[in-house]
Amino acid sequence: MTEGNDGRLDLSAPATPEMMGLVHAVLEQLWEAHDDVAATDRVRFEMAVIEILGNIVEHAYEIDSTDTGSRRFDVSVAATETELVASFGDNGLPMSIDLSDVAMPDELAESGRGLALAMAAVDDLSYERENGRNLWRLTCTRKG
């Protein structure tokens, strides 16, 4: 949870599409508290965060669709002098694909760009399955 950064914002909420707006609001707050973060860095970080959250909401609970109540995620975002960092945790099903296999699909494909876009946007994206939880970590090295 990006320990050591006292300015971080942590949210834990049900994994529903409506929560995407709240995560945008969390990021708006982060930018307000760190008004020196360059627009280019905000844009690519926010986009990657929303892609990963969108995947959690859409995919991580697909098969396990009986027990809506317990579908939750948590997210922590922080800005340091040099980096923007986000980490996600969720108790959904494990990711089916290997990040090293992710590639941008055909130009006219209507879907399948989420992970490729997130990976292109940030400087580091990692995924781990730990203690029955999915853990995602995103890092942008600040350019601005």
Partner: protein, 111 residues
């Protein structure tokens, strides 16, 4: 919530203006709007993105879907006035060629 203003130019071109965040929920609605236009025979469409503050892969998917159905109907879909957020997504996905953004809504169908 994102708003979709739709106008028609004197040349009969439909102009769609997604205002706000073009994300998962909004992408579904944009796809409906674009499908509706093509279904009504309005297959020359400009998506004016001057006020689109955020775009993700699902919004991009809706644009590509609209582009394909407009072309299939003999028309085209063109993007005008992208914000920085939109341009970033186009360039990271290498779609600046297929969704080549135009500087103005008026000239979007000039070539």
């Amino acid at each position: 919530m994102i708003e979709f203003a739709v106008e028609t130019t004197p040349q009969g071109i439909a102009v769609v203006r997604p205002q706000g965040r073009l994300n998962m929920a909004a992408a579904r609605r944009l796809k409906e709007v674009l499908d509706g236009l093509v279904g009504d025979g309005r297959n020359r469409i400009v998506v004016d993105m001057e006020e689109t503050t955020f775009l993700d892969s699902s919004g991009l998917g809706a644009l590509i879907a609209g582009l394909k159905s407009a072309r299939q109907a003999g028309g085209d879909l063109r993007v005008a006035r992208p914000t920085e957020a939109v341009r970033t997504v186009f360039s990271l996905t290498n779609l600046d060629r297929v969704l080549k953004p135009r500087d103005t809504v008026e000239d979007a169908f000039d070539d």
